[in-house]
């Protein structure tokens, strides 16, 4: 642990009887960082986050938030943190403004003009009853309550779920602003491109265990893509299998599928020696990252 870490999780374990929770997690988030928490659904992201917020308690290990104990000092932490749960409901009978007013008053007041500005940016009508809002609009109300008191730390569980692409862009801008204000963001996601786009560092979690903590730059350098190349005539896959960065190459008729990690230069030059009809590049799924990049199939569950 470094002095001044905004989040420090040490040997954190949460067990739920037979169900998997999280096992022996250790990581830190530095001030001003946008930290991604990446993993498939059910990997333990929500469990970790709810421990930070003290709605659940560790079975073993500890979590420190803003230098304070997540359980003992939870009230002080909550004053300085904005939290968006992964799954939630709002009070259906209230309007969006009522809901925000209730939470704002529990916080002893918030930056009202800022809240109004956010509502405008997200094109959200706060006068509507929550029961008549779409899923995306409810997500916006919940985002607003996390941001409206301008907290030092934002803990956001799958923040873009339900947002349409335009609103996702607005959300990314909001994260960029938080970063330039020197605030810290901890956000979870189950999709790689989102983490790529907004985060400085990422922790990857799978089946309750931490697989890696990487700088985004390093991760990108190692990122794996699958190329599907359609040639004018059949080409042997062997020609590509030995090139730097190629993990796998297989041919079927006049098509070749090549899995590549890192820079593409060598492979593109090799492809160019043949007549190429079509070329497609696919981003890897999370499972592909785990299987190929981090080797092995996890703990075999």
């Amino acid at each position: 642990m470094t002095v001044g870490d905004v989040i420090h999780v040490e040997h954190l374990t949460k067990s739920y009887g037979k169900q998997r929770g999280v096992v022996d997690l250790t990581f830190s988030v530095a001030p001003g960082e946008v930290f991604g928490y990446l993993g498939p659904n059910g990997a333990g992201k929500t469990t970790t986050i709810r421990t930070l917020i003290d709605v659940i308690r560790p079975t073993d290990g500890s979590a420190t938030v803003l230098g304070l104990d997540s359980h003992r000092d939870s009230v002080q932490i909550h004053r300085r943190v904005g939290y968006l749960p992964g799954e939630f409901n709002l009070y259906e009978q209230m309007t969006g403004a009522d809901y925000l007013a209730y939470l704002a008053q529990l916080r002893g007041g918030v930056d009202e003009p800022y809240a109004a500005e956010l509502a405008e940016r997200f094109d959200l009508d706060l006068g509507m009853k929550i029961k008549s809002l779409s899923h995306g609009n409810r997500q916006k109300v919940a985002l607003l309550q996390a941001f409206m008191h301008r907290p030092e730390l934002l803990v956001l569980d799958e923040p873009t779920q339900g947002l349409d692409p335009l609103m996702q862009q607005e959300f990314y801008r909001l994260i960029a602003e938080a970063r330039s204000d020197g605030r810290t963001v901890f956000l979870s996601s189950h999709v790689m491109p989102e983490i790529d786009r907004v985060c400085d560092r990422v922790a990857i979690i799978r089946e309750g265990r931490l697989v890696a903590v990487e700088d985004i730059g390093d991760l990108k350098a190692k990122e794996i893509r699958t190329l599907e190349v359609h040639f004018a005539e059949p080409v042997a896959a062997d020609a590509f299998a030995s090139l730097p960065g190629v993990r796998q190459a297989e041919a079927a008729g006049d098509e070749v599928r090549i899995t590549v990690a890192g820079p593409m230069d060598a492979i593109l030059k090799a492809l160019a020696r043949h007549e190429v009809v079509d070329l497609q590049s696919h981003e890897p799924s999370l499972e592909e990252i785990f299987l190929t990049f981090y080797g092995g199939d996890g703990d075999g569950e």
Partner: protein, 277 residues
């Protein structure tokens, strides 16, 4: 316009106020129900009084536990006080108040938890203890309101039918009904706080109330187990008969103690527990 958003609402300043605001419509209906319960008995009073002798004989001819159930220990149901004691306070009023309080107690925490509204609320600088206390307070205000409505329903509707009991004794009966409601509301709150399951809290508490009623009704007739009646919270309510005897201080204290123990257990259990996702 952006600058015109105000996030101040007097009725949403605290969880206590918000909970009262949440149930404002339901409370109006409950109040109408309680008023109707009180008002309905008045028109029947003259005919009961006229046929007092016949009815009394008929009731007395039943087995003791049944006449206890219908008449109460005092065996008086022809005076205004006796009539209200037997018909209203030994039957309809406690049932309505228990329904309200058990619902409110179970909903307080477990209802929010099941609807998944609790994570955001508890991520504000509020303690769990405070949320439970304010919810308990809101339940007390609701129950008190209903008991006041019950109290005023009799002087407002009784006089044309000569149903004019002592308003002090009536107030004592309403107060004990309130304490009874808070006792079972406290139990429902405790079960809800311990388990996070609203349906379970309602079921367990309603079952407990039904068992408590039967125990108080049946065990006094059987000498070897007649002490069991003292284990029934309802005993301390039904045995007091405040319409005739004024406020039963001992019974009231027992009922209040049950409510406080329920609240205390709720606070401890909720503080320690993981919340459902």
């Amino acid at each position: 316009m952006a600058s015109e958003l105000t996030l101040r609402r007097p009725m949403l300043r605290t969880t206590f106020r918000r909970t009262i605001r949440d149930q404002r419509r339901a409370l109006v209906w409950w109040a109408i129900g309680l008023f109707a319960a009180g008002a309905t008995y008045a028109p029947f009073y003259p005919s009961i009084k006229e046929n007092a002798e016949t009815l009394q004989q008929y009731m007395e001819s039943m087995p003791e536990f049944l006449s206890d159930a219908f008449l109460g220990a005092s065996r008086d149901f022809t005076s205004p006080a006796g009539y209200l004691n037997t018909e209203l306070f030994n039957f309809f009023a406690p049932i309505l108040l228990l329904l309200y309080a058990i619902g409110a107690g179970a909903r307080a925490i477990a209802g929010e938890e099941e609807r998944q509204t609790l994570d955001v609320l508890l991520a504000t600088p509020t303690t769990r203890r405070r949320v439970v206390l304010e919810k308990f307070g809101a339940m007390a205000v609701g129950a008190a309101l209903l008991c006041v409505v019950l109290w005023v329903s009799i002087p407002l509707t009784g006089p044309p039918f000569e149903l004019t009991p002592s308003l002090w004794d009536l107030a004592a009966a309403c107060l004990m009904s309130f304490l009874l409601a808070m006792a079972f509301g406290g139990v429902a709150l405790a079960v809800g706080c311990a388990t996070g399951r609203r349906g379970l809290a309602i079921g367990v508490t309603a079952g407990f109330a039904a068992a408590a009623y039967l125990v108080d009704l049946l065990t006094p007739a059987i000498e070897s187990i007649d002490w069991l009646q003292y284990l029934s919270p309802l005993h301390y309510y039904l045995d007091a008969e405040p319409m005739m005897n004024g406020l039963g201080v001992g019974g009231s204290l027992v009922l209040a103690a049950i409510a406080v123990v329920g609240l205390a257990y709720a606070l401890v259990a909720f503080e320690r527990r993981d919340l459902a996702a």
